[in-house]
C-alpha cells in the first residue's frame, strides 16, 4: 500500500459506521486531514445492515450513499479498511496510534468483476447477514460496500481456493503473500466511533434463543426484509420457512437489566414499532404483532410514530416483561408472564418471537492512554481527563442513527478545535 502520512494536525477516526463516516467527513470538509480506520472490509457499519430507518421509514442506503459520495469526493480523508487501532499513547495534540492492518489478499487492481467469487468453492457464515446465510470465500460484503473491492477469507489462503481465486483473476489483484502490517501514526486528536454490537441473546437464558428456532433477534429480523438477504426479503419462520401469523416482540431483551446491560439501549422500542410496520406492509391482516414491554420509550417527535402503530388493529401491546419462553406445538413457543395492567397470568402462544436485543458498546479496554474515562456501561464519557480522545455515536452512548450523526458532528468539532490549536502553535 502507498505510504500513510499523518502529523499531529491529523484527526484519527476509528470506525467507519455512520458515526465515524460523519465525524470524518465533517472534519475533512472543514479542511482538516483525517485518517479513517475501519476494522472490516467495508464502511457502512450497522446502518448498512438495516432495511429502513425510523421514523420516516426511508432506506438507509440513501443516507449511506450520500456519505459515500462525500467520502469519494474528499481528498482530505484517507480511508484504511481491514485496519484496527490497537493502542494510543501520548497527549492531546500529540498522540501515537498503533494500527494493525489485516491482509485483504486482494489489492487495488480489483475491479469487482466477481470472477474470483465464482471460482472459489469454500463457503463461510455471512457476517453481513449475522450468519443467516453463507457467502463464498472470495466475496464483496454487500452491494453498497465501499470500497468496491473483493475480500479473500483468510481461512481460504493456503488452500486450493486461494489458488483458484488467483487463477481466475484477470487483473492480477489476488495477492496471497499479503502479510499483516502495523503502522505507527502521529495524530493530534482521536474520534472513537466503533459503534455497537447486538447483545448476545443466548445469554438471556429464560428466552431460549439457543434452544428454539423461532426465537430470533431484531437484527436478524431486519436482515429478513432485505431483498438480497437470507430469505429474499420475506418474513418467515426459521424452523419451516412459512410466513408467521402471530409474532411477539419482546422489549428490553438484555437491556435495563442488572444481569445483562444496565443501560436502556434507547433504539429497541422504536425498532420494534418499526418492525411491526414491516409485518403490516408484507403480511397485512394475515399476521398479528404483539409487543411485550416494560414501558415504550418513544420520545418527542417519534411519539407520533408510536401513536400511528397503536392505531393498527393488528398490533397489540402487553405491559409485561416476559418471564420465560417454553416450547409449544408445531414449532411454536409459549410466552409466560404476568401483566402489569391487572396482574393477569398469561401463557401466550406465538409462532415467531423477535427479541429486541440491546446495544452493547464495543469500546475496548487497554487501548487508550491512562485517564480516559470509560463508564460502567462501556461508553466513553466526555471528560477533561480524556485529553483529545472523543467518543462519537454509539461509543459515547446508546443512540439512534439521527442522534449518532449529531453526536459525531459534535465530536468532530471538538477534534477540529484541538488540531486547530496545534496548528496555531506551530504557526
Amino acid at each position: 500500500m502507498s505510504e500513510v502520512i499523518a502529523t499531529n494536525q491529523t484527526i484519527l477516526v476509528a470506525g467507519g459506521g455512520i458515526s465515524g463516516l460523519t465525524a470524518a467527513l465533517e472534519a475533512a470538509e472543514c479542511g482538516k486531514q483525517v485518517i479513517l480506520v475501519e476494522k472490516g472490509p467495508t464502511v457502512g457499519g450497522r446502518v448498512g445492515q438495516l432495511y429502513k430507518y425510523f421514523p420516516k421509514l426511508c432506506f438507509p442506503t440513501c443516507g449511506l450513499e450520500i456519505q459515500l459520495r462525500r467520502l469519494k469526493a474528499n481528498k482530505n480523508v484517507r480511508l484504511l479498511t481491514m485496519a484496527e487501532v490497537t493502542g494510543i499513547s501520548g497527549e492531546a495534540g500529540n498522540y501515537t496510534a498503533s494500527i494493525k492492518l489485516s491482509p485483504r489478499y486482494i489489492n487495488e487492481n480489483c475491479t469487482a468483476c466477481g470472477e474470483c467469487g465464482k471460482a472459489v468453492e469454500g463457503e463461510y457464515d455471512d457476517e453481513h447477514n449475522y450468519g443467516m446465510k453463507k457467502r463464498k470465500a472470495a466475496y464483496i460484503p454487500y452491494n453498497l460496500a465501499y470500497p468496491q473491492r473483493y475480500v479473500l477469507d483468510p481461512r481460504a489462503v493456503g488452500t486450493d481456493d486461494g489458488e483458484r481465486a488467483k487463477a481466475a483473476c484477470k487483473y492480477n489483484a489476488v495477492d496471497l503473500d499479503m502479510q499483516e502490517e502495523t503502522l505507527e501514526l502521529n495524530v493530534g486528536a482521536v474520534v472513537w466511533a466503533t459503534g455497537w454490537k447486538p447483545y448476545p441473546a443466548a445469554k438471556i437464558q429464560p428466552y431460549g434463543y439457543d434452544r428454539y428456532d423461532n426465537v430470533i433477534t431484531n437484527v436478524e429480523f431486519e436482515r429478513m426484509l432485505d431483498p438480497f438477504g437470507p430469505t429474499g426479503g420475506k418474513i418467515v419462520r426459521p424452523s419451516d420457512g412459512v410466513a408467521p401469523k402471530n409474532i411477539a416482540f419482546i422489549q428490553c431483551a438484555g437491556s435495563r437489566d442488572r444481569n445483562h446491560l444496565k443501560h436502556c439501549s434507547r433504539i429497541c422500542c422504536m425498532a420494534s414499532l418499526k418492525q411491526t410496520t414491516y409485518v403490516a406492509e408484507q403480511l397485512g391482516d394475515a399476521c398479528k404483532s404483539t409487543v411485550y414491554y416494560i414501558d415504550i420509550r418513544a420520545i418527542d417527535r417519534i411519539d407520533d410514530f408510536y401513536q400511528k402503530v397503536q392505531k393498527d388493529p393488528n398490533v397489540s401491546f402487553v405491559k409485561s416483561k416476559v418471564a420465560n419462553i417454553v416450547s409449544g406445538s408445531n414449532g411454536n413457543v409459549v410466552l409466560n408472564g404476568v401483566d402489569t395492567e391487572g396482574y393477569n397470568r398469561y401463557a401466550n402462544d406465538h409462532d415467531l418471537v423477535v427479541l429486541a436485543t440491546g446495544m452493547e458498546s464495543t469500546v475496548p479496554q487497554g487501548v487508550f492512554p491512562e485517564g480516559t474515562v470509560i463508564n460502567e456501561h462501556g461508553f466513553i464519557d466526555l471528560e477533561e481527563s480524556n485529553g483529545a480522545i472523543f467518543g462519537a455515536g454509539c461509543s459515547s452512548d446508546a443512540l439512534d442513527v439521527n442522534r449518532a450523526a449529531q453526536n459525531a458532528t459534535a465530536a468532530a468539532l471538538r477534534a477540529i478545535q484541538v488540531v486547530t490549536k496545534v496548528a496555531a502553535q506551530e504557526g
Binding site: 429464560p206 435495563r256 416483561k321 418471564a323 401483566d339 396482574y343 397470568r345
Partner: protein, 203 residues
C-alpha cells in the same frame, strides 16, 4: 395541605421502609413483572410480588399486611436472581410476613404461618428440632380425624425411617436437646428484648 398530600403518598411506604427487612428497596421496583412470572408458586399467590410492591406504594396497608401472598414464598430465590433491578424480593417477602405477624394481621388459618409457629415452638424449647413431634403436630394440625388418616398414610415411610435409624420413637418422651438449655433460653430472651427495643424505636 401539602402535609396531607405527603401523608397520602408516603405513609405506608415509609412504614415499610422503617419496619420491613430491606423495605427501602421496594421503591426501586419498575413493575416489569419478571418476579411474578418466574415464581414457581405463582398459581398460589393472592397478589404476585410486583402487585404487592405497587400496593405498598399505593398505601393499601391492611390489604398488604393481611395478604396471604408473602406466606407462600418458598425462598427459591428465582425472583432475586432474575430481577432486572436487583431487588431482594425474597427477603422483602419474609420481612413483610414478619411485620404482619408482629402486628397480629396474619390471616387466620394461614397454613405456612401456622407451621412457622409450630416449628418455632418446637425448636425454642430444647434448641433442637424434635422431628417426630413436629411431624405429628403437623399431621394433627387440622384435627384428630385428618391426623389419624395422615398418620396411617405415612405409616410405611415412618417404619422405614425407624428401621434405618433416621427417626427415634423415643423422641416422643421429650427428645434430645442442646447441652445448655438454660443459656439458650436466656439468649432468646435477650434477643426478644433487643428486638422489642428496635420496634419501639422505629415504631
Amino acid at each position: 395541605m401539602s402535609n396531607q398530600i405527603e401523608k397520602y403518598r408516603r405513609s405506608f411506604l415509609s412504614e415499610v421502609e422503617a419496619n420491613v427487612e430491606e423495605g427501602d428497596m421496594v421503591k426501586m421496583c419498575m413493575q416489569c413483572g419478571v418476579c411474578s412470572g418466574s415464581c414457581p408458586m405463582q398459581n398460589h399467590w393472592e397478589h404476585p410480588p410486583q402487585e404487592i410492591f405497587m400496593m405498598i406504594r399505593a398505601g393499601k396497608r391492611e390489604e398488604v399486611l393481611s395478604s396471604s401472598s408473602m406466606w407462600m414464598c418458598t425462598s427459591c430465590y428465582n425472583c432475586i436472581a432474575r430481577c432486572p433491578r436487583g431487588l431482594p424480593i425474597t427477603h422483602i417477602m419474609h420481612g413483610l410476613a414478619t411485620y404482619a405477624k408482629r402486628l397480629g394481621l396474619v390471616p387466620k388459618e394461614q397454613p405456612t404461618a401456622k407451621f412457622g409457629q409450630m416449628f418455632w415452638d418446637n425448636l425454642s424449647k430444647k434448641g433442637r428440632v424434635n422431628e417426630l413431634k413436629l411431624g405429628l403436630a403437623l399431621y394433627f394440625m387440622n384435627g384428630i380425624g385428618p391426623g389419624i388418616k395422615k398418620s396411617l398414610e405415612m405409616q410405611d415411610v415412618g417404619m422405614g425411617m425407624m428401621k434405618t435409624g433416621r427417626m427415634n420413637p423415643m423422641e416422643i418422651l421429650g427428645g434430645h436437646s442442646i447441652k445448655d438449655t438454660a443459656g439458650f433460653s436466656k439468649m432468646l430472651a435477650k434477643a426478644f428484648e433487643i428486638e422489642e427495643g428496635n420496634i419501639k424505636n422505629n415504631g
